[in-house]
Subunit: 461 residues, 2 copies
């Protein structure tokens, strides 16, 4: 919570304690709904309904949609049917759907009972679309115009019906229920002649999304085209709804969070961290931990296999963590770069050869500079200062083995790191789960194999 | 590139080969500027200027701002002074600034020479703001209204001046150069009485940002308030520019990419991956690799220190990678969750106790279930099938040591993982660099210390 919000919260609490409701109301009406919601979310259960009822009708609905699901549920349970109906009447369909998706079944039933018949139908339609589809995040409240209207008639229509629309700035031109054009209020206002027909000012090459398109694609289209709203059409190109930029922004952030969670071996969740129980968090984290733990069996096997060699030259063991970590870090640098490029549509499978060629050169640069630094560090710290190589018959050969292994594993790690996400996407898997932890497990095994092979060749173990 | 863009590109190439310029132009004018830019970016150097000149003036400028810097530079170098001036006249100030920031000094000088004096001044003003500040991403083309205007007068003013404004939908009310209110076109259009004064319909509690605010904060405000535009004011509350939602979306994605890169131990870069040289990529990746490699000295030291113990019970070595990896993964799950929460303002330092308490419980759940699974896996795979414990005097005690170590290190890892980013932010460092690789290094050392301590206690090594 920002500092000014905390000061505001203290002020409101004080006024509430002193029962100065008129002053409270005067302050609340000047505030932005999102700021009020942040404060209301922190309020004690028994004070929330009282304070909420001080808000004028329209502001109350705006605050309601911005609040946490827990607080929303609490308020709904306290609402009379009339109060609930009032809030619903002020809400946009897509906001109502967002609220419903977080509520238990009994509350959902009450909401649908109190919603106006038309709203209930729209809500039910939207709820039927698959999760994360364009249909599931759209709203059905848009301004529809006819191609034969004049600019003046269109403006009149917007002024008459605009109050209930999610956006009035992009209007959709419909003929025989089909979406045939788009016109903005800017086009209408800047048009010199009020008698111009809409079909003459509208853009006819409409960029739209399909109800079943993934919301991630939709967000990418917003960021590519800088639109304020995108029309959603069904398979017959009939306009069924619109998605506005603010919803696209939410999707963008959710998708980035999801990718970050997947890269950290967490199963993504839509619930905010602080409102999840430890058990729920455990459920999202344990599957990958288990899988990665079991897959570390391979590294164990490799070490067991070379047990006798290690016993003969025990100093080699001390460098296993450094080699594995450096390889893991090198690999995840490459994989994360490729994964992010894929999700922003900056990279695609056909770039695979240029990516491999680029990573190979980066790997040679990294491998050589790391090997040089490693040689220096081992010579200065381990050999001279710590004397770790006392009793080793050919210490520089051993240091050489470590540095050569480092260079080779960095190369392997970068190549595995950059190609795995590309193949994952090609095969229809999510590239993000190919990130650090998964790559680390593979690269760990690889680096040990390289280590013991190089050691066998040069040190005849 | 999407499939339909590839088909379109093939069509355009064919028409270009056949010199059917009139048809080419007819197709191009129906396309969205962003789609044209994608195709132009892929075009050969010698064909680009020809195709570009087919575009009508306004569309040409829109396409230009969407193109890659390399292609932009190529075009500018081919432009006559008059052509450059024409493109600049059609561009918004913030787009012009974006182009300039990517160009070499000689090209920048030419651009500034050809820009209209007023535009040149605005560009120079914006270029003076620090990188990543609100001032550096704003534009100076907004609609300004006076409080004493009527709604009808305001609409007339918008119709007269709107063509050159980045957005007309949010208008700013200015008195004595100070920003005193905000009014939207929706408010104006839905107002019943055309003679209402602007000061009566405007919102006076304006939410604005300061020129020196960080762009990340600005993006967070867009996502919180769902605004279409935010006013940027100087220290005296004078309006100096606006930031529109599309720029905020770009910032949002850039900031997410930056966080992801930092979490993967990469120094963030604003250049797209495919246009970076291997040497540039190396420069962004090698510092952390070096640092993490050198810091792995500690893990090496710990292993060296327990060398004799390891020689006595060599089977312990085989489980080092599994223990380190599991601890590292557990730690980065916690750290990444906290880092993302911090950058979305969902978590802050004052939540530290509830975060620690939550992570502790999650860690106990994870630790116990991992230990149980680990026991089963070692018993079945390593003990029964592989016979790794042949010759070990008390195999179940050793397995017990491994499982106890696992539980304890998961607890440590989660606690380190969740607290380090919080302290980093508190101390003014970037929490994102505290992610996986850094945590892994710390947790590696911790897990080895725990391993050898537990082993010493139970196995008397």
């Amino acid at each position: 919570m920002a500092e000014h919000t905390m000061i505001m919260e203290a002020t409101l609490r004080k006024l509430l304690d002193e029962k100065k409701y008129a002053t409270l109301r005067e302050i609340l009406v000047t505030m932005n709904p999102s700021d009020i919601a942040v404060i209301f979310d922190e309020l004690e259960i028994d004070r929330l309904p009282l304070l909420y009822r001080l808000l004028p009708k329209e502001l109350a609905a705006d605050v309601f949609v911005e609040m946490d699901p827990d607080a929303q549920e609490l308020l709904i349970r306290g609402f009379s049917d009339a109060e609930l109906k009032e809030v619903l009447d002020e809400m946009f369909i897509d906001d109502a759907v967002d609220v419903i998706e977080e509520m238990p079944a009994t509350v959902v039933r009450r909401i649908l009972e109190q919603a106006a018949p038309e709203m209930r139908k729209s809500i039910n339609d939207i709820l039927r679309y698959p999760e994360n589809s364009a249909g599931s995040i759209m709203t059905t409240e848009y301004v529809a115009l006819k191609p034969e209207m004049t600019v003046a008639e269109a403006i009149t229509r917007i002024r008459r019906t605009g109050i209930d629309k999610e956006t009035i700035y992009t209007c959709y031109v419909i003929k025989d229920r089909l979406l045939i054009g788009v016109v903005t209020v800017k086009d209408l206002l800047l048009c010199d002649n009020d008698d111009t027909k809409i079909e003459q000012v509208m853009i006819t090459h409409v960029i739209s999304v399909n109800t079943h398109d993934d919301q991630e694609e939709v967000a990418q289209m917003f960021s590519k085209y800088n639109f304020m709203a995108l029309p959603v059409v069904d398979a017959e190109n009939r306009l069924v709804g619109i998605i506005t930029f603010d919803d696209a922004m939410d999707v963008m952030q959710d998708e980035a969070t999801e990718d970050i969670e997947k890269m950290a071996a967490i199963i993504p969740s839509e619930k905010p961290y602080l409102s999840m129980t430890p058990f729920e968090i455990w459920k999202n984290r344990i599957p990958w931990l288990m899988l990665l733990m079991v897959s570390a069996t391979f590294t164990g096997l490799i070490i067991s296999h070379f047990e006798i060699a290690l016993q003969r030259l025990v100093v080699l063991t001390a460098f296993i963590p450094m080699l594995m970590d450096t390889a893991g870090n090198s690999g995840s640098q490459a994989s994360v770069t490729v994964i992010r490029g894929l999700s922003l549509n900056e990279l695609e499978f056909k770039d695979i050869l240029s990516i491999i060629w680029k990573e190979a050169r980066v790997a040679v640069l990294c491998g050589l500079s790391l090997a040089a630094a490693c040689f220096l560090k081992i010579f200065l710290v381990d050999y001279l200062i710590l004397g770790s190589f006392v009793g080793v018959s050919s210490p520089f050969l051993v240091i050489g083995v470590i540095c050569i292994t480092l260079s080779i594993t960095v190369l392997f790690a970068k190549l595995v790191g950059c190609t795995l996400p590309l193949f994952a996407q090609k095969l229809g898997f999510d590239p993000a789960v190919m990130a650090s932890p998964f790559i680390t497990t593979i690269v760990d095994a690889l680096s040990l194999l390289v280590y013991f092979s190089v050691a066998s060749i040069f040190l005849h173990l």
